[in-house]
């Protein structure tokens, strides 16, 4: 029987590229995997007037978020033919240019990994109680809104 692996971990601060490399490398022993799909959310330095976003500070309702991530994971394994999936989301300060979201799906054939990854990203944006506060270069701030 296929082992269905999944982790959802809040990470304090940005998600480093080296961490992503390690996550990829850990899958080299799973020799039935043919395709990986990865989504990364990077903090943009959007301009508003003369100011630009220097960082986003993320907070969450952790108990509810963890339940929601669990549901998303369970649903993904039911609906899609994937071998494993991992979700990592930053909390606290993530500077412009740094990565705050890392979704990683793996499957035998490419379509499953790609479709699952996209579906998970959409659900995270819509359903997981996380809030980003945009902190501007002049230290003002405003709450981010997702599109």
């Amino acid at each position: 029987m296929e082992e269905k692996r999944g982790h959802t971990i809040f990470i304090d601060g940005p998600i480093n590229p080296g961490f992503i490399a390690e996550a990829i490398a850990k899958h080299s022993h799973k020799k039935n995997i043919g395709a990986h799909s990865i989504f990364l959310g990077q903090v943009r330095s959007d301009k508003i007037g003369n100011e630009e976003v220097a960082a986003i500070e993320y907070t969450t309702y952790r108990e509810m978020a963890e339940e929601k991530f669990h549901d998303i994971r369970e649903d993904a394994f039911k609906k899609f033919s994937i071998i494993c999936m991992h979700i990592y989301h930053s909390l606290g300060i993530v500077k412009a240019g740094e990565i705050s979201l890392f979704v990683f799906t793996s499957s035998i054939h490419r379509k499953d990994a790609i479709d699952t990854c996209e579906a998970i990203v959409e659900r995270i944006k819509k359903e997981v109680p996380v809030w980003g506060k945009e902190i501007f270069t002049n230290e003002n701030s405003q709450w981010k809104t997702n599109t």
Partner: protein
């Protein structure tokens, strides 16, 4: 009957507390009315309501020690 109310994001900016204990609300409609009376700025904010971590769409009966979260629009990712 006492309810734990949790606030997040913009809602915390209005209520100034992340956790309140509220008495005298039998259901979520009554709770919202009570909160919007005490914090009128809430009325101009979009939010959803979770009772014990589940988002509700309709007025919901509350039990002693239920946790009600006032959730502004999510903006993770």
């Amino acid at each position: 009957m006492e309810i734990d109310v949790l606030t997040f994001g913009q809602i915390t900016d209005i209520i100034k507390e992340t956790k309140l204990k509220i008495s005298g609300a039998e259901n979520t409609d009554e709770l919202i009315k009570l909160l919007e009376n005490n914090y009128p700025a809430l009325q101009s904010n979009k939010y959803s309501i979770a009772v014990n971590k589940k988002i509700i769409q309709e007025n919901t009966q509350l039990q002693h020690q239920d946790t009600v979260a006032i959730l502004p629009p999510f903006s993770g990712g």
